[in-house]
Symmetry: C2
Subunit: 242 residues, 2 copies
DNA sequence: CGCTGACTTGAATTCGCTCAACGCGTGTGG
DNA sequence: CCACACGCGTTGAGCGAATTCAAGTCAGCG
């Protein structure tokens, strides 16, 4: 029977050929554990802009990012958005063992995710300490990363924020594909609009734009088009990032 | 043999009579699991101002907060401090399964903690899924709390930040003892100096002071002494917190 | 070709920071 | 006991970075 257009049940070969098989929570699991995840997981394709989770909803899904960039965000009462973080390939999304989803998730680029019904996932996790351990490790390092981001939000000026943002994106993006060749130009397409960058950094769109312009004028970066960046002076950018 | 003055091995009765026995990660563990924790844990008393963990150190300890308030903090390159969060009774400290401690921990009030050698704790956690599960749940909700704090740092003005700070402290403090009687005056001693409050909120000491003064003038709070606060208009304070 | 939405640029404003002075309580040594 | 220093907090003045408000530019698309 045909499933919904964007969902397919995961055949055994899916996990075996999965791009993140060795980096996500699946890494290092035993064969029987992988099979179990296989049985309850589905692949899903998300178009850029499509939402996977809504803040405050009952938490019915958790997922692994296979490819693409997604944003986790929450909203202030007066409607401003604060992006809580970005999720890249092999990152985990959602709130296992919780009632409600604490943040919204939206794809910034076209993306592939491997989704699980939370109830299924919780059950397997409870019964398989290895999986739970992986999840714990991932959550702990996510907590560390989030806390470092607090330093950025609380203590940095616009220039430092943007420098850090570009450097982190450069690293996280590079981790996904092949390793960067040192000395090679560091160019890529930004998966975020100026507004979204502003939301990540706790700035306004105008401030982000001005800082981009300034960095370009100073020769630290290039902006071949609106949605592309090149880091020209990696070292100087790191100095700015302080 | 006498141990160091501030450390005592935990006798069975320690856990049984522990104030946080039913709220920390120990809650709901089986008797044999509790016994194991008992065997590897020690109580330690910290004086206000004493440090338990240093950022960047090899992670040798993890701990449960039994009583008191501690701060988790990190430093910028130029020496400014950013407090990453506060830990209250039943909160968990440290970085299990990690090489280095990602933040410094210092007691703000006199405090009691239940400390474990990380190696011991890791081993017990690995072997006892129940414990690991508790730890995971706690880490996940800590991540949620931290992300909500990002919204405060990234999107709020000084007034909103302080209002949120006071309200959160009121709640977290109240959770420790008996429940607040509604309508009762909400008065307590601040465990933080103005400077520390500034570090928590990503503000300067002067701004914090001015906001305190303003709130007092507006009748929202009272400041019986430098280190005491009373929330007079809880509802109005919540309006400010937005 | 003109419309639309995303981005940039400019000018004015404002919020929080910096710098500086001062107040207050506490401890210390003469 | 007083004088004084010291830490901590408050208050004021001026400044500056980032925001707000307001035009303008640009690219993509019907």
């Amino acid at each position: 029977m045909q499933r919904r257009v964007y969902e397919d049940s995961v055949s055994t070969s899916y996990c075996d050929t999965c791009a993140i098989r060795n980096r996500a929570i699946c890494a290092g699991l035993q064969d029987d554990e992988i099979s179990l995840l296989n049985a309850i997981g589905r692949r899903r394709h998300l178009k850029a802009g499509e939402r996977l989770l809504w803040e405050g909803d009952e938490a019915v899904l958790v997922a692994n990012v296979i490819e693409g960039v997604l944003k986790l965000s929450t909203q202030t009462v007066d409607g401003k958005e604060q992006i809580l973080g970005l999720a890249y390939a092999s990152d985990f999304l959602g709130r296992p063992f919780g009632k409600t989803t604490p943040y919204g998730v939206e794809a910034l680029t076209d993306a592939h995710v491997c989704i699980f019904q939370r109830a299924d996932f919780d059950r397997v996790a409870r019964e398989h300490p290895g999986l739970q351990h992986k999840l714990l490790e991932r959550t702990l390092s996510e907590l560390d990363r989030t806390r470092r981001w607090m330093l950025l939000l609380g203590r940095m000026n616009a220039e430092q924020k943007l420098a850090n943002f570009l450097l982190e994106m450069s690293v996280r993006r590079a981790n996904v594909g092949c390793a960067d060749v040192p000395g090679e130009a560091d160019v890529w397409a930004l998966p975020l609009s100026r507004q979204q960058i502003a939301d990540v950094l706790g700035l306004t769109i105008e401030t982000v734009s001005r800082q981009f312009t300034k960095m370009k004028k100073d020769g630290l970066i290039d902006l071949p088009s609106r949605r592309e960046v090149a880091i020209l002076e990696h070292a100087k950018l790191e100095d700015l990032a302080a």
